[in-house]
Symmetry: D2
Subunit: 344 residues, 4 copies
Amino acid sequence: MFFASDNAGPAHPSVMNRVIAANAAHQMPYGKDTIMDEVTARIREVFEAPDAAVYLVATGTAANVLALACYTQPWQTMFCSAVAHIEQDECNAPEFYASGAKLTLIPTDDKMTPDALEAAIATQTPGNVHGAQPGPVSITQVTERGTVHSLEELRALTAVAKAHGCPVHLDGARFANAQVALGCSAADMTWKSGVDVVSFGGTKNGCLGVEAVVFFDPAKAWEFELRRKRGAHLFSKHRYLSAQMAGYLENNAFLDIARTANANAMRLADGLRAAGAQFLHEPDANMIFARFPRAVHKKLHDAGARYYLWDGPLEGPADELVAARLVCDWSITTDQIDTFLSHF
Amino acid sequence: MFFASDNAGPAHPSVMNRVIAANAAHQMPYGKDTIMDEVTARIREVFEAPDAAVYLVATGTAANVLALACYTQPWQTMFCSAVAHIEQDECNAPEFYASGAKLTLIPTDDKMTPDALEAAIATQTPGNVHGAQPGPVSITQVTERGTVHSLEELRALTAVAKAHGCPVHLDGARFANAQVALGCSAADMTWKSGVDVVSFGGTKNGCLGVEAVVFFDPAKAWEFELRRKRGAHLFSKHRYLSAQMAGYLENNAFLDIARTANANAMRLADGLRAAGAQFLHEPDANMIFARFPRAVHKKLHDAGARYYLWDGPLEGPADELVAARLVCDWSITTDQIDTFLSHF
Amino acid sequence: MFFASDNAGPAHPSVMNRVIAANAAHQMPYGKDTIMDEVTARIREVFEAPDAAVYLVATGTAANVLALACYTQPWQTMFCSAVAHIEQDECNAPEFYASGAKLTLIPTDDKMTPDALEAAIATQTPGNVHGAQPGPVSITQVTERGTVHSLEELRALTAVAKAHGCPVHLDGARFANAQVALGCSAADMTWKSGVDVVSFGGTKNGCLGVEAVVFFDPAKAWEFELRRKRGAHLFSKHRYLSAQMAGYLENNAFLDIARTANANAMRLADGLRAAGAQFLHEPDANMIFARFPRAVHKKLHDAGARYYLWDGPLEGPADELVAARLVCDWSITTDQIDTFLSHF
Amino acid sequence: MFFASDNAGPAHPSVMNRVIAANAAHQMPYGKDTIMDEVTARIREVFEAPDAAVYLVATGTAANVLALACYTQPWQTMFCSAVAHIEQDECNAPEFYASGAKLTLIPTDDKMTPDALEAAIATQTPGNVHGAQPGPVSITQVTERGTVHSLEELRALTAVAKAHGCPVHLDGARFANAQVALGCSAADMTWKSGVDVVSFGGTKNGCLGVEAVVFFDPAKAWEFELRRKRGAHLFSKHRYLSAQMAGYLENNAFLDIARTANANAMRLADGLRAAGAQFLHEPDANMIFARFPRAVHKKLHDAGARYYLWDGPLEGPADELVAARLVCDWSITTDQIDTFLSHF
């Protein structure tokens, strides 16, 4: 009953098997491996973007900050939700990689609204040398609160960005979970909706540690390569990144894995709802924020269930509500979910 | 006949098997996995350093630059050989991670001499605010030219560093190859010889992509953790780094793998010597720099042998000497070596 | 009728005369001039801090960001008011000088409250490697809105900072204006109230361009010298900075100049109040934010009055209120103020 | 008898008088002062460059590093002489302002030769992601050793740079001294010889503290403004920089001042030569490196002469030669020079 994070489960066989298969013979290092050629072609196909520049790195933070750095001058500010991963969970890596640029936070506990984004950009004073200059907008999909922007919502945000000349980055650490939730194409959720560069996550969705950065404008390719190397993120035995991503994309495994994870979360959410739990955010993908009585939480904890308590201490009145974050990956079984629910 | 680099061969079974085994059940992310506990204990044992702080990253450049950054203020300069990897092959990553510090190059085509290091440090003017202040000394072992510092040589260099108050970093991308060449202990080659922090390489010696950074002074631990995270080098599914390193250290596999690689290189070197090749540097470990006639080089190339031509173009008089860099990893077979030599 | 800023008037004779006097004979460069000895002694006397480390730079931004950088690690965040100069008017210089650290903004349109500061620091998670670590707190005195923290208010803020182990910086671009407003000593407003380092402004209060950075803990001295040099802020002909500051401090000229500026502003504020103007912030020093009818504003503008319109466009209904920022320096005459007021 | 540096003497009356005159009435801050309009027009005239972008800063290091940063990506290296001010005397400011770029040193104790520059650039591997990429070339004129590149020498260096696509920066801390030494125009020594941006020094040649950065390609203008502000080098009371530069340029005062300084140095050099002193470098402008017996040095020192001992300790055999650096500014009198020489 491990619901703490989707970064704690095993890699999916479709991924692992390609890694094992890659461990034969010699391959050129530093991204010149033949598997990477397959990956590039496949990502261009998946994204319907024949000119896209495609690169692999091993961590989600690396994907985000390298992508953003290619669109951010040191005297600019990047716009993001106040709860964005790049703000809360990357220990100043965005500022480091962008040579000391700033983040401007859009006040929200989940999605940015277009109005709030507009207000944040509008308070900037481009051309005034005293203030930070407007830089890129970063949107997270699935959000840090488990919700998914509809294509309409995405486009409303990117329209605001574009109106101010701001490029758009999509933090897609849970890209596939969002895509299957929306039932749209990868292109729909990116360049067809105004996204310039995407962090296309693999790690949380069944890989060992790989993320693709996809630039729809290949003009950024060389700068990205230099930034990746300078950031110490260019793998010599790159084949093992390529192999993960190749297995992940093969036969749309990434969508199947995400579908399983989302279905797990929906089964859990349905059970929680039936048991009277309240949701802090309506779950759209594989992540649930729910309130239930402390007494239930203690029973779950004693039974070995693992998840983050979002709000409220372990000790206190038994009938008081606490809040929990529950994340499902593909490897959670329905049995585990049902056992979990049986404690309510 | 792939002699281009030791980063192009497959991972060793002792490493790969642990990665496969790690792909079961759930593990806490971000270095809190139980396999990392094993790794830390084992590295402390290997280095006879019960208090050492031990961390894993995925690339050799990350290990070097994060280790050095912990010992370098932005207004300092790091001392290294003019041919050091940190100077020639890391695209300004050391300067990036050290917030704009400088490298001072010791003129040499291979090892630094203590006199040359002394001269370089002595030209600095600590306490003079106009110049860069002296920072750490970085020594590469095995060197970029395939030679190995004796313990006496190492200690002569660290003595110079210590006399000036400069901490010492060892770039051990090929640490195990050097250790078996010297027949010494890991402790001998590090803290017993005046080394403060070591990049203990795994990738080039049979891993997929993992390096340990070992601080003999644990006071640097927390700073390293913050720098690693801020550099986007903290893996969420850290278990896959831990598993590689665990397999690498188990039963001293790292030494066995290096012994095989070095033996391969010695077989090749002996054959080359017998065939009349000249050596640019006397090979000590698993890397050879040799001169032989262009005609031989062309035959080898046509036969599918792969290695870097170090000096001299492909075309030219048949009897003119060209220089080649030949690197052996554990996976090169004696058959391949003998076939290679048969073209002389 | 120039009320646009206190950086637009001439230097005060007490300052200018020392600059002219300094232009004789030779002086050692880079802060080794004899006038600097006088300045250091005098600042220690003024601040009742015999061990203070004292340095001069030429701009307020340089003073702020060099002082803050000495207390900020790259993975930390600095806390300040959302309207602080370091946030709004320094084009990412704080982030640049602190090697990519972050700013955390306390929501307010003027002073931070201790509760809001506490809330901002409390949301940080020191020891959690994913988030920025808490760094220094920067307080502005006189605030950007023309108000002055009482000593009680200052101490309540620094108490919050100290409780979390955060060092405290005071942005005193208008230090003297605040000091005369409070009628306290320089020590009262700094180290006796928990301030660790102060940007002691000269430029806005009658100098040509000089600010002192005063560290009450001299342990930061050498780091500051290196950061100043590396930031290209160490003057070769430093005597001209020293001379300004010497004249500024002589016979407490800095307090007299500020007293004049504040008195000018009070005369203006009294007149505005009598004329029915509303204040956005109650003016405490030499800066006024007032609303009055657009018709009056147009008359003033046509009469040659200069100031920033804070809110509301030039064109619109004549009786609608606009907001203006009016700043007085020592050189504004009572005649100019009275002429200005005559247009109401 | 102050020959220690040309940054230790007083400002020239032509400069000082404009500063005093500027201290009247109000002026717009941050470079919007009317005096700056005059300066821009005059510099364009002096450099015969009607489109040049012109900016003022207060220190030579600021001029150099801001100019270079506009032409340097963080993954590039800047080429300069091993004895360049940007290498030896700026405490890593070039690396700081260029976000961690590197310097590649051309081995020389004075001028770079075109061959040595070619060799240094040719060892770079543009397009190879592992190494630093070639960036700008910085040439110092007058050199740090008191010699002046002829226009032919300058053009030979810039031709090498241009052949590799490297932009060219001229560190002209002693620009006027070089210009009068060559008897050429400012345009001859800059854009007509392939220079893209120049640090046009004022401080060492009779100003209080002002340098102009002149871009012959105005496309860099806005980036420079942002970098200057972010570096904390934009003066609020900018008029005092403008006034210095205005006085410096008026009636070609800068050339007259330099002519005096150079003539002083020539008188001193002639006397030294007559007295049997040897020159380490043939003096071309206002700086002399000469060897003479330690006994003479001691007599001079006891007589109050001040200069840097370049080589050799104060104590030792009386007839042993020591080396001294002797710098003349405009304010040295012929009497002082003759008194100095009388000790030989």
